[in-house]
């Protein structure tokens, strides 16, 4: 026998189910009067530094149908590449930017819109800079464990070309699934859960 490690096991995930809105966006679910506002609905305020952008998100199933019951959370650095987190040790992030947002996809259109700022670049573990990116976490009915992915920006071609995470994608045609183009007033990011254009998801 050897010494016991005595580690615990992570609690197993379960689906968020179709009524995730009751708990995480109750005002969106028409449960009013409990919380003043839904947590994560506003990432920016009048004092937030950086370039304001919109990000339009849809999550599509294996038939190409948008999920109208998904919940999407994003996490990103501020305009200078700093995270608003106690684990950020490189400096102090913009106090007028939360870095975290949460939206339910629309019950009719399946779309949701984040109003945020374009993130600055953040170093990879070896010091090389990653390209500007937003981290996504997606849960819904039918998803047993939340899916992690990233959105990069099509107008950051040079930075994307040297991004150490994108460089790890073996099938190069799949890189495009993580790159959002600007259309009108917002970047448009379609997340395909399954099929030929399946988005790259990460085991982080």
């Amino acid at each position: 026998m050897v010494q016991a490690l005595n580690r615990l096991k992570e609690s197993p995930s379960q689906t968020a189910g179709p009524y995730v809105h009751i708990g995480l966006t109750p005002n969106f679910a028409e449960i009013t009067g409990v919380y003043d506002r839904d947590l994560g609905d506003a990432m920016v305020n009048a004092g937030t530094k950086g370039e304001r952008i919109g990000v339009r998100v849809r999550v599509l199933d294996g038939t190409g149908t948008p999920l109208r019951d998904a919940l999407v959370e994003i996490w990103q650095a501020d305009h200078a590449g700093l995270y608003n987190s106690p684990s950020e040790r490189r400096g102090t992030a913009d106090p007028n930017f939360t870095g975290w947002g949460r939206k339910a996809t629309d019950m009719e259109t399946g779309e949701c819109l984040f109003e945020t700022v374009k993130p600055g670049r953040v170093p990879f573990k070896d010091g090389r800079l990653m390209a500007p990116h937003i981290t996504f976490w997606i849960v819904a009915r039918g998803i047993n464990l939340g899916l992690h992915t990233r959105m990069y920006f099509a107008d950051e071609e040079a930075a994307n070309g040297e991004d150490p995470v994108l460089a790890r994608i073996e099938h190069r045609q799949r890189v495009a699934t993580l790159v959002a183009a600007r259309k009108g007033d917002a970047y448009v990011f379609d997340i395909n859960l399954q099929g030929e254009r399946e988005t790259v998801f990460f085991d982080i």
């Binding site: 992570e10 609690s11 995930s13 987190s85 106690p86 990460f202 085991d203």
Partner: protein, 250 residues
């Protein structure tokens, strides 16, 4: 958002790798909706960068006085929700057994009859006019938390022709890093529906399912008021940074 619990130096290590044989796989055909909503390609493994190590932390200023009391937070003044009055309590720990102070817990559930307050819910059981079904709290210095609610009822759902969810409360938990983000469900000791449920059975290992079953704790009850169930939640642990090359400057 504000940062509390400053008596502990924030940790900056990467998280332990997730054991994806312990969690449910993406494709679990007996839970039908997973068939078209599960990726078919392998996940790309990514040792944590700053984008995953960091995460939002929420301050107590977020909370209203009734956020942890589902019996009253949607009820008319002087009234309360109908059902079995219970307290759910426990700790948020990480895989190293350390408490996770400041963890935000959000929960949602059906009422005593198994009816959710949601536009897309069509079950014929009645709504309770004094029950909304959402609550939240923040773990204390030791990772401890508690809230008050009514025990939810089981409800039928269109999967098989006669599938019923066991009584359950949904939990959403934030630790200190975005990689710890977790949503799960709490079940109740002794419920025979647990072992029939296609969603429970997405979890391959019976021992893993048992970690989601809250224990009745008569010692924590309030006599003549509410029974208590204990439910501990474990989030991913962090690796030590002591021998890693760090660029954060600490």
């Amino acid at each position: 958002m504000s940062v509390e619990h400053t008596d502990r130096r924030p940790e900056t290590g990467a998280f332990f790798q997730r054991d994806r044989g312990w969690h449910p796989p993406a494709l679990t055909p007996a839970y039908k909706t997973s068939v078209l909503r599960s990726p078919q390609k392998a996940l790309l493994s990514l040792d944590n960068t700053l984008s995953e190590i960091t995460g939002p932390v929420f301050g107590h200023d977020l909370l209203g006085p009734l956020d942890d009391d589902l019996i009253h937070n949607f009820a008319k003044p002087g009234e309360s929700a109908i059902g079995e009055r219970i307290i759910v309590y426990g700790r948020v720990l990480d895989e190293r057994g350390k408490g996770v102070p400041g963890a935000l817990l959000e929960f949602w559930q059906a009422n005593a009859g198994g009816r959710y307050r949601h536009r897309k819910e069509g079950y014929l059981a009645a709504l309770d006019p004094n029950f909304g079904g959402c609550g939240r709290t923040i773990a204390d210095q030791d990772g401890g938390y508690a809230f008050r609610t009514i025990k939810p009822g089981p409800y039928p759902w269109p999967n098989g022709v006669n599938d019923w969810r066991p009584a359950h409360i949904h939990f959403s938990v934030f630790g200190h890093g975005f990689a710890q983000r977790l949503i799960t469900q709490m079940y109740f000791e002794g419920d025979p529906l647990i072992w029939l449920c296609p969603i429970v059975k997405t979890i391959p290992d019976r021992a893993a399912v048992e970690t989601l079953i809250a224990a009745l704790d008569m010692q924590a009850t309030i006599p003549m008021d509410a029974r208590a169930y204990k439910f501990d939640i474990v989030l991913r642990g962090r690796r030590s940074t002591m021998f890693e090359n760090r660029l954060e400057g600490n």
